[in-house]
Structures are given as C-alpha cells and as structure tokens.
C-alpha cells in the first residue's frame, strides 16, 4: 500500500494575544489525519473551525506550535516539497498590475521550465480555466470569479502531485462552481491528490472520496461521506396528488405537508405498503417515493450544535 500523500500528526496551532501576548487562543488542537495518495479529500467545517489554519500550516505560511506534518513523505518545513504542491489561497488576490498571462508566467519562473515549456504551460492553463480571451487584461479589472480561476491556474500550473485548495468554490456563481468541480475531477482522473476546504456540503458529497469534519479546532469525524453519516434509512417520503373526499384518509393527511393538491408524507419503512394501499384505495395518485437518509448537512449541523452547546456549558460553569 502506498504511503499517504498528506500525513498530519498532532498538529496544534496557538496564537498569542493580549498585552505582552501572555494569553493564547488555540486555532487547531492536536489534529491527526492523513490524505491518501490519489484521493479527493474534503475538509469541512464552519467559519473559524481551523480549516484555513491547517492549510496554511501545510503550505508553510504559518508554523505549528506542536506536531508535525509530511507531504509526499517530506516534512512541511522542507522547501523542496513545494515543487510538488499547488495551493489556492482563500479569496485569492494577486498583483493587480499584472495580466493573467504575466502572473502565470511570473509564477512559472519559480519552477525549472525552459522558456518554450513555460509559455506553452501558461497558454494551456489559461485555456483550461477559460481565461484565454481575458489573458491581456490587468487583474485589477477581474471579477472575483475570474480571480478564483487565475488562482486555480497558478495552483496547477506546474503539474503538482498534491493540490491544496482553500475554499475553491466560495464566491462563485453556479457556472463557476461547476467549472471548479470539473477541474477537481479532472485532477483526480490524472491521479493527483486533492485536498480542499469548503463549507458547501453538497460539493463535498459530490466530489470527495473522504471528508474530514473539523469544528472548534478539533477533528470530529473522518471517512467516506456515506460512512460518517448514518446511512440507515429513516423511512420513505411519498409525494402524491389527492382531490379529497375520503374520511379514512383524514388522520394520514394531518401528518402530511400540503401544497395545493399535492401532499408530501414521510412514513416509517414498516408502514410503507399499508400507506400506499390506503392512498390507492382513496384514489390518490402517487407521484414519487424517495428514501429518507441523514445528509452530510444534518451530520455537520449536529456536530456544530454539539460544539456550541459544549462551549456554552463551559462558559456557564466558568471553566
């Protein structure tokens, strides 16, 4: 079995604050996890949970208070590791006096490309992120979505083995989000390891082999989306049309949500057939049936609420 692409052990980050920096705020507490080679890993958490802190530690923008991390077997303090990683910062901002082509050319110069290779890569990346026509416009005239695309282009410009993206979908319209999703899938198909942070859970569910949920600086769950979320069926949701008239259905209808003639009804698995029979004999028209499962969002919200309740309890008890 190949070694993990990213391996994090007990990573902790405290920020000193207050007069003389005597107090400290813990942004990340004893994070241990790994991202396997070739997988797409989603790093989930609410704002301020420690996602960006973790990513900044991995790319060497901040330094850990304790713990270690390795990318492709090299410690994060090793500068040579940066040849094999691509990084998109959160809400990226670049030199606005440069054009997209100039910026990519500038970043490409830090890698060992020949002049021809560099020019060819810049062209290819601009095309890939759909900025070919805007290549000669200064970045100060770019929209947020366009800057995000330039950010993605610079992150994958040098064909890195590990791509780390901090909130790659934030601020993008549906088209932009779709394009970013396609790029992430393309990277996966090329065998790259992708780690990205997000709070858009549907994106994570759609793209990720595994996700890690971080709340309050601590890792609260890690695994495949369908593993960490309780996948047991919670019954069926039946959507039907009914004109009314049958007194026997009154009790059933009182538990349903009504929109005009349409009713949405959630029933336990063991009562599904009996309910269907009841609806059929009353002349209702069944439109659809969907299995009810806990979503990643519910799981996520449950963790966040538990964390808030714990924080409130600590505050009340004064500990």
């Amino acid at each position: 079995m190949s070694s993990p692409a990213i391996e994090i052990e007990n990573l902790t980050k405290d920020y000193p604050f207050g007069f003389l920096h005597l107090k400290k705020k813990t942004s990340l507490e004893g994070l241990s996890m790994s991202v396997e080679d070739g997988e797409v890993f989603g790093f989930l958490g609410p704002n301020g949970a420690g996602k960006t802190t973790t990513i900044k530690l991995l790319v060497g923008l901040i330094f850990p208070t304790a713990g270690t991390a390795h990318i492709l077997g090299k410690p994060i303090s090793d500068i040579s590791m940066h040849r094999d990683i691509g990084y998109l910062p959160e809400q990226p901002y670049f030199y606005d006096y440069l054009t997209a082509a100039e910026l990519l050319d500038y970043f490409a110069r830090f890698h060992e490309f020949t002049d021809t290779e560099r020019r060819e890569r810049v062209q290819r990346m601009l095309k890939k992120v759909g900025l070919e026509t805007a290549r000669k416009i200064q970045l100060r005239k770019y929209s947020k979505g366009m800057l995000q695309r330039v950010g993605l282009a610079q992150a994958i410009l040098h064909d890195p083995k590990v791509v780390i993206l901090d909130e790659p979908m934030s601020g993008l319209d549906p088209v932009g989000r779709r394009e970013v999703r396609d790029i992430i899938l393309e990277l996966k198909n090329e065998g790259k390891t992708v780690m990205f942070s997000t709070h858009i859970l549907s994106d994570a569910e759609m793209l990720c082999d595994r996700v890690g949920v971080i709340v309050g600086g601590k890792l609260r769950g890690i695994g495949a989306p369908d593993e960490i979320v309780d996948m047991k069926s919670h019954g069926m949701e039946i959507l039907f049309e009914y004109g009314g008239g049958d007194a026997n259905l009154r009790a059933l209808l009182s538990t349903a949500t009504q929109t005009g003639k349409r009713y949405r009804l959630q029933v336990p698995d063991e009562q599904v057939y009996a309910t269907l029979e009841q609806l059929r004999s009353a002349g209702a028209r069944i439109l659809s049936m969907t299995q009810v499962k806990a979503s990643l969002e519910e799981y996520f919200m449950h963790l966040v609420e538990a964390d808030r309740a714990q924080a409130a309890a600590v505050e009340v008890s004064g500990k």
Partner: protein, 257 residues
Amino acid sequence: MNRVAVVAWNTFREAVRDRVLYNLVFFALVMMAAAVLVGQISIGIEQLVIVTLGLSAISVIGLLIAVFIGVSLVSKEMDKRTLYALLAKPVRRWEFLLGKFVGLVLTLALNTAAMAAGLFVVLRYVKPLERADLAVLVAVYFILLKLALVVALALLFSCYTTPLLAILFTAGLYVSGLFVEEMRTYRSETMTPAVRAILRWLSYVLPNFQNFDVMASAAHGRSIPGALILQNTAYAALYCTVLLASASVIFSRRNLK
C-alpha cells in the same frame, strides 16, 4: 539566485507600472526652473547653486521613495495576501526579501541615473563641463548607496512592525545617522561618563549617513578621494548585509495570518 532575480524584476515592474518614475517629471521641472533662474540671480556661482539644488532634489526624492516604498515592499504583500500564493512555490523567504530589496534598489538606481543625467544637462546649459564635474557623479553614487541602506532599514522594520511605525523608525534612524559625528565628539559638563559611553557606542552602531554626504565637495568641484569611495561602498555593502540577514531571520519566523 534565479528566484531572487525573478522577484526583483517583478518589484521593478511594479514600481514602473505604479508610476513611481513619474517623480522624474517633477525633478525635470525643478531643474528647468533652476536653470532659468540661476542665470538671472547668481553670477559666478551657477555651478554651486545648480549642483547643490540638483543633488538635494535627487537625495530627497530618492529618500521618499526608499522609505515609503521600502516599507510597503513586504507589508503591502502581507496586507493584500499576494504573498500567500508566492510562498507556496519553491521560494525561500530570504530569497523573496532579497529579491524585493534588489528590485527597489534597481528602481532607485534607474531613477537616480535619470536625475543625474538631467542634472548634467542643466549644468552643461549654464557652463561647459569639465573633469572636476566627475565629483558630482561620485556624489550621486553615494546618494544611491545611502538609499540602498535606507531601503534595507525600511525592509527590516516592516518585517516585524506596522507600516506607520516602520516609516517612523526608518526616518528616525536616518536622521540620527546624520549626527553620528556629533554623538561621538559631543562634550558637556552635565553629561555623565555613562551617557557619553552610550552615545559613543551608538555612534558606531547607528548607520553613518554623514559619510555619504559629499555635496559641498561636488558643488565646489573638489575631487573626492578614491579611498572614501571604497570605504563607503564597503560600509554600505556590509551594513545592508547585516540588515537584510536580520530581516530574513525575523521574516522566516513570521506567521502570515
């Protein structure tokens, strides 16, 4: 070294695109006005007036650029977070700092050279050029050395404090550095031996900007000894190295929040 050159070139490009070199227009206007006026009000001392005015303008304009842009070299990159994507590339932090320093010094060199050329044009307008005027070139070179030292100071301070404080510290040290001789030789009845010792020690530690001032010699057409040129070059190089090394040590440990 290639990475330092890439950062330096981009810093130079930024200065040019941010219209830093527009100050040359201001300088040109000052020198043209001086050339017209000097013929009317100063008989026989044209060279003195033109050279003094020209060198002062080169120095003041250069100092403004060195302090304000010098401080913003790192702080602007941190504020705007343009540094994040760059430092995730295989670039060491000291390479980034050195590149920034070289880029601004290159900008200042070009700026100073253009102003010096303007000064010589005006000088030629009021009198024929002669060999003694080479002293003016040496004075311009010393100004450039001084500016490099100021950029290194600004860079050091901007690595660990706010831009405003960095500007104040750099300007403060520059002004103190103009009085190191006085610090060394000043005697007063009320001064205790301890204070005198501290002042003397400070006079050696602070950057000595007095040594770079040869304006009077240049204005009077007196030659400047080669030993002084060598001494000032070595002093600026050594002092800049110490400042940049200190800045690198501080910046390499800094968390980019």
